[in-house]
Amino acid sequence: MCGMLQDTLKRAEKAKEKKALYGEDIDLEKFIKEEAGEHERVSKANEVPKKVQDTLLKVGVDPTEQERSGTFVQMDQSRVCTTCTSESVELMSMPDALEKYGWLKDYMWKAVAVDADKYTAQTGLREAQEGGGGGYFIRSLPGSKDIFPIQACMFIGDQNVAQNVHNVIIAEENSELHIITGCATGSDVTSALHVGVSEFYLKKGAKITFTMIHNWAEQVDVRPRTGVMVGDDATYISNYILTSPVKSIQSYPTAYCSGNNSNVVFQSILGGQKESVLDMGSRVILEGQGCSTEMISRSVSKDKSQIYARGHLAGRVPNVKGHLECHGLVLSDDSLIYAVPELEGASTELELSHEAAVGKIDEEEVLYLMSRGLTEEEATSMIVRGFLSIDIAGLPPELAAETKRMIDTSVQGM
């Protein structure tokens, strides 16, 4: 065992009990650590069980694989499908990728610390025990551009499982990579845990768009951990959509704009239903000359849901720019939206701003639509859907249209 891995394990071991800063603390022992290989492997996405296929579609993962450059499906801890037709992108499971590329370990636990909390620690320990655990490796080759996205799905099929995933995504110099990932649960799963660690590396001039739709069950706890390293002139765009009930989700992806003139966009659409607790943030560290970021979040809370919409912009060098926009609609008295925008300026000549508003639906808007013949209920839901349908920037036109449709479908139920 090499020294670096030993060091990683040592740090993970130490952090095994370390609570996360935000979100309810989860007892990891409650969940079953199912082994890889429990679910059968297939060679094409349309060979997974029909019921699973229907669920995949809802989160933007198309089992027919039309207009996709590759597909990765993981069920619980087993990878069941890995296909890739593109010549400009590589898609593999992490164990395969680690076997193929000796250098891959140099990218592991660099954008996310293994000892960040007990969830990252558990993922690190599990992958060491299981010889490279769950998760995918995506790499776009230098100078390549595939307008068709890679699609990936993390699916929980069995009751009470803990799904641990470690993904590494590398966009080589001047490449453009589009990824759609959907996460979902089988209809008979009532309780489970998903921990997904994702590390993104964008080399000079690279661009990644990452669109993620979550559709978990009401008793599932979710703890994604994401780090993004953004090189010179690189662009990272993240779109996150969650409108279905979940027990709890807590995530605070961090992008490090260390490259000059790099740009990061985080957009989130959050719909809180039933007793969901959504604690979602995004953080951008602006540490490269001339880099910029924009964060936009729209939250709607219904029923007894609680939404914490966090954002942190940290400007560490001169001439960087960042704007944070956080809007929320509180639709029920038993629900809550807690917006926490944070600006940190640690240099001169920088521009950081935020705009946050939490409130109710404007009655004047409802009446306007009623005066066109809509009922109060129809008017309200049209306004809520409109409020959540933010325009997604930076996608190729075909993908933008499809993403728009995915958002429209997701917000339909709000």
Binding site: E365, L369, M370, S371, R372, G373, L374, T375, G386
Partner: protein
Amino acid sequence: MVVKLLLEITDLAVEVNEKEILSDIDLYIDLGETHVLLGPNGSGKSTLFMSILGFPKYKITRGEILFKGEDITNLSTTERVKMGIGVSFQNPPAIRGVKLQNLLKIEHHEEGEELSPEMMELVQKLKFDNIFLERDVNLGFSGGEVKRSEILQLLAQRPDFIMFDEPDSGVDIENVELLAEEVNNLLDKDKKPGLREKSGLLITHLGYILNFVPADTAHVLMDGKIACSGNPTEILEDIRKEGFLGCVECCKIH
């Protein structure tokens, strides 16, 4: 010729935030007629308008409103609109994420992905295009665009009774004529008076639009009461010469 009453407002009193704004309002509009409501700022024109529309802030404390013979005094805005009342607002709110196209589909009862050719023809007539249809309704619209969009939506709805709140304010001359043409179209002005089936109530400050849209009767609202009713041309003439107060004085004498 059988004259049919479309809108009958009798002895109406309206409160806003527990303050009486309108009282003793009697207003009768026949099928096919266009009336114009004049009056200085703050006289209650918009309040009357919103009360006919049934907005909840406007509490009717006395009197009744009949539309097509039915008592609508306690009906919701939606129900009134479904019965055939339509409206063009002076300053409608912008709604993020609600595209003009989506509204037109609802107003014209269309289900398709794209607007019908019939609707597209109206869109072009009002000088809009596909790109504009994708815009969030009223968000960043210019004054003229707001008015044209309101009229376009009414053309999609085709209501039997239409209230226009300052349809020409903030619109340049060239577009006033375009708007007036469509207002006339909405109000069946191309038909002979006895054959018109659409009625309207125009609220106007300056009366400029009346140069293009002929009205049958004018009413002057002062301090929450209809102070004077009569021939629009004569009343306007009086107002121009004597101001609103002078005009009302003159009415009292008659």
